[in-house]
């Protein structure tokens, strides 16, 4: 598989969330992931985009979301970076805890972790970067390459 990277700079809007999901669906499909895996990847990217647009940038029109897809070795590596104040990792709830089950929010990171092989969260004072990795299995190595 040829290594390839595509990057997008997106506005802090709801359209960006849909846009990010659509790009993830297309690229994961082109890489030959199964339908279930494509759904998992696109949902993880959607949740990451929601975090960036809503919780990171707070819909601020002057702040951008940087979304990148990289086909690296046997991995699909997706990074989503916002320009917010940086996520407070100590405030990420466990949505499976009995006291949190009926909360109406706080499941995004959990879903990303459920669907991806690796989820790394790197907060800083200039924003949060989420790295999502899904392993491409050898049987799918013949999939079409991602293209912009």
């Amino acid at each position: 598989m040829t290594e390839q990277r595509v990057s997008y700079t997106l506005d802090s809007s709801l359209e960006t969330v849909d846009n990010a999901e659509e790009k993830a669906t297309r690229i994961a499909t082109e890489l030959g992931f199964t339908d279930d895996e494509v759904m998992q990847i696109s949902m993880a990217v959607r949740e990451a985009a929601v975090n960036a647009v809503l919780h990171g940038n707070g819909y601020a029109p002057d702040k951008k979301v940087i979304l990148a897809f990289e086909h690296k070795g046997s991995d699909l590596v997706i990074t989503i970076r916002d320009q917010g104040k940086g996520m407070d990792l100590s405030k990420i709830p466990n949505p499976l805890a009995p006291e949190n089950l009926l909360k109406t929010s706080g499941r995004g990171i959990f879903l990303m972790r459920s669907f991806m092989d690796v989820v790394e969260i790197r907060p800083s004072q200039t924003g949060t970067e989420l790295k999502l990795i899904k392993h491409v299995h050898e049987s799918r190595a013949g999939g079409k390459e991602a293209s912009q």
């Binding site: 709801l14 969330v17 759904m39 949902m43 959607r46 949740e47 929601v50 809503l54 949505p95 499976l96 089950l101 009926l102 909360k103 109406t104 929010s105 499941r107 995004g108 959990f110 879903l111 459920s114």
Partner: protein, 114 residues
């Protein structure tokens, strides 16, 4: 495809047929407004038919939880009907399957109200 809803009465129970996506934005808002409208009109026995809901994100899950608790807090009951595999899987991994009353038969769902 955005979210669409239509409601009908079956033996004193309101069945809300939902289709499309329940996601952050329009989909979640439509579901929220629909349930609030039903409750404000005294319709407190609600079945959400999700047979045609092909996608739901964490915001949509939150909206289902909100609909469930809002209805319960007003003395009503809300049940889920005909989950697609995707929605079913999501409710399983979030452990919400045990919280919601999930049915796969409409007549049984309607009968199950006290």
């Amino acid at each position: 495809m955005s979210m669409k809803v239509g409601s009908r009465q079956v033996d004193g129970v309101t069945v809300v047929d939902c289709s499309g996506r329940i996601t952050l934005g329009e989909g979640s808002v439509i579901l929220r407004d629909t349930v609030r409208d039903l409750l404000s009109k005294g319709n407190k026995k609600i079945v959400l038919n999700l047979a045609e809901v092909n996608y739901i994100d964490s915001s949509g899950i939150g909206e289902l939880v909100s609909a469930f608790t809002t209805t319960k807090n007003q003395g009503g009951e809300l049940k889920l009907l005909h989950l697609t595999k995707k929605v079913n899987d999501l409710l399983q991994i979030t452990k919400l399957y045990t919280v919601f009353d999930v049915k796969d038969d409409e007549a049984a769902a309607v009968k199950a109200f006290k």
